[in-house]
Symmetry: C2
Subunit: 161 residues, 2 copies
Amino acid sequence: MKTLAEAFHHTLQDIYFAENALTKALPNVAKAAGNPEFKALVLAHLAETKQQITILDKVFASIGQKAAGTKCDAIEGLIKETDSIIKDATGTALDVCLIAAAQAVEHYEIARYGALREWAKVLGHSEAHEMLGQILDMEKAANSKLTALAVSAVNVAKKAA
Amino acid sequence: MKTLAEAFHHTLQDIYFAENALTKALPNVAKAAGNPEFKALVLAHLAETKQQITILDKVFASIGQKAAGTKCDAIEGLIKETDSIIKDATGTALDVCLIAAAQAVEHYEIARYGALREWAKVLGHSEAHEMLGQILDMEKAANSKLTALAVSAVNVAKKAA
């Protein structure tokens, strides 16, 4: 990997792997969550993640590449962290930690799509630039909802303590 | 882990582990970086990370706990991703990917400190709340510098392609 075009293609494969891994991990998070609002948010984000994968398929097509994933260590670490929380926490600690872990995943995705969108622009991939911006906006909206929920959930947790 | 207080203590140990892991990983990133501005930024952030560990020592003390880390899978995944970039990329791809990976780490830390600061407030740990806010501001400033650098580096990469 030497050029910006190669870096773009590699990072696209990296986030494609990450989104696909999330479609497998999110059902477990929804199942474990106690807070009903959080559960609903996770299920809504699962549907959104599948939609984002369809958009990513089009991004690959727009640069003449086949959609494919490449192992992403970062998302695997983030998902492993979520699994540990499900294993080790109960009650209110489970909910606040799962919400915080979901925020960390959103932040990761925002960083990734921010870079990809910028690179697409510099590379002159205008269609890819637009589609990546569309996914970035979806991730930012999901993060805002999680942040609002985190504040309310933590106050519920305090009352329950 | 059942209560918000336990979740707070656990997550504090998690970020303590993460910051300590970064003090070991950042010198390799600085060594690999070709872009001199990025190299300088990484070295400055290494010094800042050590300062943040000292602040975290005080946060632990303020809640009557001993400073200690607990394995953080997320930061291990993020660092593993950085190591793969150093191994697999050269030239301009190396720089743009390393800068993007550093942004992902900053985003992770911003998510973590954002949650911890909020939890400290709800738990009535006013000293911890203030100190965690101080670290959060440092991470946000580091992220802004990286974002500005990312934009200039990617344009340099394009010209070199």
